[in-house]
Amino acid sequence: MNNQRRTVLKSGSGAALLGLLAAAGIINPGMALAEWNKAAFDAKSMADTLKALGAGTPAESKDVQVTGPDIAENGAVVPVGVSSTLPNVTMVAILIEKNPNALAASFTLPEGTEANVQTRVKMGQTSNVYALVKSDGKFFMATKEIKVTLGGCGG
């Protein structure tokens, strides 16, 4: 299915074909929004991830926030989110510096959707977590450290 979609997107008459495929129920409507950004999710370091996202070196902004608790009782489930008061935010992403692949998730926000998204991520260890925001076509960033604790009996 992935391959099929990729081929479709590469062909010149992609849009029309997509419509047909959607109508035929072959692909889920709305799924063909954008290609899953393999390069960005495969990137290891922060810098490579930002590059793959086309974000360059984002400016730090006080109007962007990594939301969620500063401490996690377990690294398998860490509640984390992004919020921002910047105007016209079209995309937000969550990056975890010390994970094997920094990018955890990215979100496309159509007009009318608030720049305030929460999810839950895995963290291998205590790490800086970054919120990336695209506002008026420019990238901004904020960070905070989230502590992952060992817990329970220890084994």
């Binding site: 401490i71 502590k147 604790t149 060992l150 817990g151 009996c153 220890g154 084994g155």
Partner: protein, 216 residues
């Protein structure tokens, strides 16, 4: 080993006598069903547990006695147990009781090792740690510490590093019941859970002025 056995026997004799007439005795757990319960407990394990795993269910005199008194034995019984356990303590061949605090720091944080069974056993050779943080506060930077045991933060800073303190720390880790019968703390040396050398590393972690236990 023979000496240990002899001591166990002595103790059994002591316990069997009504040496605990000091306060109203608490009913042993299980009451009149204790024997049935022991049999039921032992027969509740999977038949495919190897024998050397099942051996872990055997109780020495300390375990048995502690259970009988719900971990709160009368003073006389406790003293017997402590004496018995003191006799088990062994020291490293070179006699040095302070090892490398950095190794000790690692061991203090590790809670894995020694898990058996079929669901989530530890892979062979997995490091067995002391898991000190499960129960004790140690280095300031580690916020995820338990409170079953007392805080050991600034252990060396507060108590110094006299020979007496060093030996106490070593002995306590080797066999906690040498000091307090039926304490919650495992007898790490007695069970060879930690080697004498590993114990010296944890001692260093507690005592060394450079260790984060004392420095921060």
């Amino acid at each position: 080993m023979k000496m240990k056995l002899a001591l166990f026997c002595m103790l059994t004799a002591t316990v069997a006598m009504p040496a605990f007439a000091q306060s109203k005795p608490v009913e042993p757990p299980g009451g009149k069903y204790a024997k049935d319960a022991e049999q039921m407990f032992l027969s509740s394990f999977r038949a495919d547990n190897p024998k050397y795993w099942m051996a872990r269910l055997e109780q020495d005199e300390t375990m048995k006695t502690c259970g009988l008194y719900r971990d709160n034995p009368p003073r006389k019984v406790a003293e017997q147990l402590e004496k018995l356990n003191r006799a088990t303590i062994r020291y490293p061949v070179d006699g040095k009781l302070i090892g490398d605090w950095k190794e000790g720091q690692k061991l203090a944080a590790v809670g894995t090792g020694g898990h058996i069974g079929f669901i989530q056993p530890d892979p062979p050779g997995r490091l067995r740690g002391g898991n000190c943080y499960a129960c004790h506060q140690l280095a300031k930077a580690e916020v995820a510490y338990g409170t079953i045991g007392p805080s050991l933060q600034h252990f060396g800073k507060l108590r110094g590093n006299s020979e007496e303190i060093v030996k106490y720390a070593y002995d306590k880790i080797y066999n906690s019941n040498a000091f307090t019968a039926c304490t919650n703390m495992p007898r790490f040396g007695l069970h060879s859970w930690l080697t004498p050398e590993q114990i010296t590393h944890i001692v260093a972690f507690l005592i060394d002025p450079e260790s984060p236990v004392n420095k921060d």
